[in-house]
Amino acid sequence: MGQEINPQTNGFHHHLNGGGPPLPAADLPELLVLRPGLLYKVFEQEFLAKFNVLKAFESPLPLDKFLLAHAQSARAILCEAIVTRITADLLLQLPALELVVADGTGVNHIDLAACRRRGIAVANTGDVFSEDTADYGVGLLIAVLRRLSRADAFVRRGSWPVLGEFPLGLKLRGKRVGIVGLGNIGTKLAKRLEAFGCKVSYNSRTKKQSARYDFHPTVVDLALHSDILIICCSLTEKTRHLINDDVLNALGMSGILVNIGRGPIVDEKTLVSYLVEGKIAGAAMDVYENEPNVPSKLFGLDNVVLSPHRGAFTEEAFGDALKIVMGNLDAFFSNSPLLTPVSTNE
């Protein structure tokens, strides 16, 4: 039942190669790929047309031997985030490395300090996924308030003519929405929710001077003043288990939690027990502490919407991500400034 990705159906062909016959691989700049992420899998042809891709994942050699034999002159690496960890140890095995390109927004799998020490630049995909993620946040929120997936299942199993009534949902206009993390995603989400008549406030690492929403100095304080809490921040050591029992208690029995950030930001065990015991009113989750494992206690709940980490995953976003990854690589190999560099200072 897994969904195989078929690049042919994505409609992206070699338009990014600028025409002309492809150069032999040996003449192309080297690009190291330890493990192919979805972006690479979907657009492999595009990468092969422009780069001599060093495919560690296709080699029978164990990784350290592969790197020793083939990657000593590699200046750039394209890395996915699910399994790959760019550690100081890994960097030691790549003496020529000057650029790490993440295939997504998050960089918490990259040791930025180690990169800084080595003078290695890091690029991510900038803002290309934030619209779709904000859209998904709205979709998940309406889905949980209005019980969309339960209602759709109710119709499909033929219950409507038999049972008639379907349980009422909850109104969105006038609800107080607390956004945790007012970055690219949080800002777009806030703009969308205002159009539905929500009252938006937020907590972020720092108060945003330009934001017109009320700032709450702590997440507990935000939760106390919110009917709905939406997690949009990135995962860092400071945000791990940020959403804990104190926050959920503050959110209260009629509160709703939506997580479109990262699973470990929420104390999942606690959230599950709160949902099972009715200590909060509902939740919509796109991310989990140990994907793709999802606590089975959630499967029987009607006030929960579950999603398999698809907040950013649209055809359009991936097309934009490819453009920006290629743009960063082109810039690097032509000694121009990166399009979306990530600061390695902290």
Partner: protein
């Protein structure tokens, strides 16, 4: 007022039912085993009717209730009420406008997101354990898609306002261009559909708008287009819609209403690109209470000879 007979047409809301029972002599039409006999026995005591989107005051029923003074509909739609017959007989009619506009518009956008982003399928995917075997596919972006609205009344405008926050270009069809709006106007539904990625039905159901979404419109909307119906089932030629979806000539549909509710064409049940809802656009706790209070308020006003709150006729 508990001697006043009120005929409730269906089990639309338990709070409303309880209050009607407290304040009036309530007759529950849907529980009568023999409706003809029931009318023969009780017609003369019935001075008010409470209808809904599911059942209302047909000409026949109005004629069978000689003492009927007011029809108070638990809906904004009036398609189940013979307004002409009410006017002829001096029967007042009220509905529940404005109070449900937000919930209906929210649901329209919710359906758009659910269809394009496959939210219901994703939920099923997790619950079935399929995620452990592989990721769900890439879906379609909503922001920036062209939204075409049939009908630019309260609900149509509320949908437009929300879609604008997603940078969706908005266009609409109406019998005539609306004066005070900057949205793009099209003089035909086919033209609107040709220029839209998402087509939403948000107009009232009348004989003129029945099957306003027909084969031609569906063809114009096309294999990447999505139809959202939060109006009434009969707005859409349902067999044409079903075959367009099954044959892949239409990209997807989000449907809250159907021609013969609660019957839904079973050929839709296996499709991934549709979301099917049991007519819940105004179905929130908050709104249904306000709607019920409006129905009660209109009845109380009428029987105390005060001005009706939301009269239509």
């Amino acid at each position: 007022m508990d001697a006043i007979g009120v005929l409730m047409m269906g089990p639309m809301n338990s709070y409303l039912e309880q209050e009607l029972d407290k304040r009036f002599k309530l007759f529950r039409y849907w529980t009568q085993p023999n409706q003809t006999e029931f009318l023969a026995q009780h017609a003369d005591s019935i001075r008010a009717m409470v209808g809904s989107s599911g059942a209302g005051a047909s000409a026949d029923l109005i004629d069978a209730l000689p003492k009927l003074e007011i029809v108070s509909s638990f809906s904004v739609g009036l398609d189940k009420i013979d307004l002409d017959r009410c006017k002829e007989k001096g029967v007042r009619v009220t509905n529940t406008p404005d109070v449900l506009t937000d919930d209906v518009a929210d649901l329209a956008i919710g359906l758009m997101l659910a269809v394009l982003r496959r939210i219901c399928q994703c939920d099923k995917y997790v619950r079935s354990g399929a995620w452990k075997l592989g990721d769900f596919r890439l879906t379609t972006k909503f922001s920036g898609k062209r939204v075409g609205i049939i009908g630019l009344g309260r609900i149509g405008l509320a949908i437009a306002e929300r879609a604008e926050a997603f940078d969706c270009p908005i266009s609409y069809y109406r019998r005539s261009k609306k004066a005070d709006t900057n949205y793009t106007y099209y003089g035909s539904v086919v033209e609107l559909a040709s220029n839209s990625d998402i087509l939403v039905v948000a107009c009232a159901l009348t004989p003129e708008t029945t099957h306003i979404v027909n084969r031609e419109v569906l063809d114009a909307l096309g294999p990447k287009g999505v139809l959202i119906n939060i109006g009434r089932g009969p707005h859409v030629d349902e067999p044409e819609l079903v075959s367009a979806l099954v044959e892949g000539r239409l990209g997807g549909a989000g449907l809250d209403v159907f021609e013969k509710e609660p019957k839904v064409p079973e050929q839709l049940f296996g499709l991934e690109n549709v979301v099917l809802l049991p007519h819940v656009a105004s179905a929130t706790e908050e709104t249904r209470k306000v709607m019920a209070d409006l129905v009660l308020g209109n009845l109380e006003a009428h029987f105390s000879s005060k001005a009706l709150l939301t009269p239509v006729v």
